[in-house]
Symmetry: C2
Subunit: 204 residues, 2 copies
């Protein structure tokens, strides 16, 4: 049996650039992990293919999946469901391939509850660290605006606590390089490689 | 105050090539962490300088340091003490610089007890994974030799459990690249970067 793959979850506040970073990571072409295809109840757009862009299903099918514990995570936006089918992820992991999920923060917390040994990466806006300095320094916003932005930033920091790594998206290529380092490094974790060694030496 | 640096510990079975890998890592010249200088009671060899190659001290001074809890880890080989002075490591970490220790497995376990948030990297011999296959496959050793080597390998695996990462030293450059990934990745750990964010937003 192949060693089980690793589940990598990329998430972060909306608007931080998750999709752009994920696309750049996969477009580089030197990754050997699988991007997880989402399931949705929205209609395919022109050119979108079932099983490639999304798994397109009916609302009834999706709700059946939820009922039967077949969704690793899901959410409803406007009138449509979006989510990650658990069977697809498990089959890929069981084949020994790592799986990459790019999802919203609520979905990531659902995955955390189901898969504590996944790797959770939080993408942060570049201005989070410098936010306060910049807001106060530029002197153009009134205190109400500054306080609102700081409050939002503090909320984002609160979410970050539930993740393993924080990657600043200052430039897409930098963010991609950081995520690559994390993945390479996590593959060397003793907890992940130990089963290989044990099996090899017949300790099982 | 600068953010406290990170302590990186490289260890592994004797003969695995820890010193060679450490030297290649530092010779690359693009590291920004500090190699920890050991303290020893042995006499300086030709060309060795105090405070550069080692801190050279008397046996009485070294034993005083042990008594006063001034050694992060130490061991005695033949008639000489070797160890890591805790003040030097702490001062470097407090200045915000990461510190790199390359030490024996017993020393690493002492550091683990004192600094649980350090990063522990276990360098493994390249033949550990393939050991059994190779030993049986080549058919030149009798079973006594094979069993002895396997027993040693199993013992080494037992030590590995106390580390965070396992790096196979198949080729020095590969091992160096892996350690570099680990260090880059560990710098992005939420537990390490969180204090920065909190301080920036005045949550302290």
């Amino acid at each position: 049996m192949a060693k089980r793959g690793m589940l990598i979850v990329l998430s972060g506040p909306s608007g931080v650039g998750k999709g752009t970073v994920r696309k750049a990571l996969f477009d580089a072409g030197d990754t050997d992990f699988q991007y997880s295809i989402s399931m949705t109840t929205r209609k395919p757009r022109d050119g979108e293919k079932d099983g490639i862009d999304y798994f397109f299903v009916s609302k009834e099918q999706f709700e059946d999946n939820i009922q039967n514990g077949k969704m690793l995570e899901y959410a409803k936006y406007v009138d449509n469901y979006y989510g990650t089918p658990i069977d697809y992820v498990n089959a890929t992991l069981d084949s020994g391939k790592d799986v990459f999920l790019e999802i919203e923060v609520n979905g990531a917390m659902q995955v955390r509850a189901n898969c504590p040994d996944a790797v959770f990466v939080f993408l942060t806006p570049p201005d989070l660290v410098e936010l306060k300095h910049r807001l106060v320094g530029r002197g153009t916003d009134d205190m109400e605006v500054i306080n609102k932005r700081i409050k939002k930033a503090v909320g984002e920091i609160g979410m970050m606590r539930n993740y393993d790594y924080a990657v600043v998206n200052d430039e897409v290529q930098n963010a991609v390089d950081r995520i690559r380092s994390i993945i390479n490094s996590e593959r060397l974790r003793v907890t992940r490689v130990m089963p290989d060694y044990e099996q090899m030496l017949g300790e099982d």
